[in-house]
Symmetry: C2
């Protein structure tokens, strides 16, 4: 058996396309011969430092994105629904606290990343499905509890997530993303024969599979496998 | 047999992603139960009127696009190679004359769109494979001849392509694209049960196939079919 390829997934819960990419990669991590590394990072800094601007700033693109996301959500089977005020959610409230929380969860977790996965998913569910806040401590606490963390764990994480080491860790992961040429999320970096191959967005899975020598079975591989 | 779905493909030969989309749709027009309509339009006006700006303006995005295009070109089997000065080709020289030429070819052609297809392909080959000019009349004439048009046909088209009716026709197709919410090309509009479903880019074919009730066999369906 060939050694597992390391695949880094950079994401931010403020980004709906990241949610799609995240769910697909979580489905494929046990199908493809890969070692998936979840890399929670801060999209706001990536946009600013790369000089990119959100696609939603162009009215036709913003309208299209809504339609595109709802079609993809159905096809990918991810319960994504736009919040009532996407601009407020994405550009005014943002995701810095939420991504610090995920970073704290990651810092604390040992022996895997189940908690990071679950907490990330619950945060996405809040903003991109249930139109709920993810900036206040109570919101973050609720998400962490729903993700299955104990009251003690949640308390500890809420004490950690605004500390300097956690701020620095999030900053470092974000810088790491920028070092690969990030200009948005999700960004997926596949390490092939010692070289990083970078894929941006949630629409390069078929090409990615081709590049890493795996088979693309669609965004719902379990369903496809059942059909084969 | 269900009636064929009308699929409009809006494109401009200045756009490399349009080339990929064009070749894929030309391959699938005889596999899927669709009536493909080639809609040559002017990307410059779409970008301007939608307030969009080219992705190449963000340095990290520009670098990624080069890598992305070369990977996709190989996977799609399209001989796409970046010109020595992409900025000059795309933003200084542009494609207005070339798209007027394609429009003139379309205006003249009866009983199909073989000539429109071939001339478009030869223009793409010039700028996006052979690093050649597509702005001068001699360049356009060369492309049309290589596409199989007779000397007489080429002469007639070169007399037509700067005329007011051709300018107006190109403008109308471009306005038609904008009426669907265009902000870039390629844009593919599938008419399903009397409603237009709009897909932007060359990375929604799998989703598009799902929406029109067809099967996606990858960008090289003949190869996939041979493998089945």
């Amino acid at each position: 058996m060939a050694s597992r390829k390391v695949v880094e997934l950079f994401y931010d819960v403020v980004s709906p396309y990241s949610w799609l990419g995240f769910e697909v990669m979580c489905r494929y991590r046990h199908i493809w011969n890969i070692e998936l590394k979840l890399c929670p990072a801060f999209l706001g800094a990536v946009m600013q430092k790369s000089g990119n601007r959100p696609p939603g700033m162009v009215p036709n693109k913003f309208k299209y994105m809504g339609k595109d996301l709802s079609r993809l959500a159905e096809y990918f089977d991810v319960p994504l629904k736009p919040p009532s005020d996407p601009f407020e959610v994405m550009f005014e409230k943002g995701s810095m606290s939420a991504m610090r929380l995920v970073t704290a969860v990651q810092e604390r977790e040992t022996g895997g990343d189940k908690q990071v996965e679950q907490v990330s998913r619950e945060l996405w569910r809040r903003i991109w499905s249930e139109d709920k806040d993810i900036t206040q401590p109570e919101s973050l606490s609720e998400a962490a509890k729903k993700a299955g963390l104990s009251d003690g764990d949640v308390q500890e994480i809420l004490q950690m997530y605004t500390s300097q080491p956690i701020k620095d860790k999030l900053k470092n992961t974000t810088e790491h993303a920028l070092s690969y040429g990030a200009f948005g999320f999700p960004m997926i970096v596949c390490h092939i024969d010692g070289k990083p191959e970078v894929f941006f967005g949630s629409d390069r899975f078929e090409l990615m599979a081709h590049c890493i020598g795996e088979k693309w079975l669609g965004p719902q591989p379990d369903k496809s496998a059942a059909k084969l």
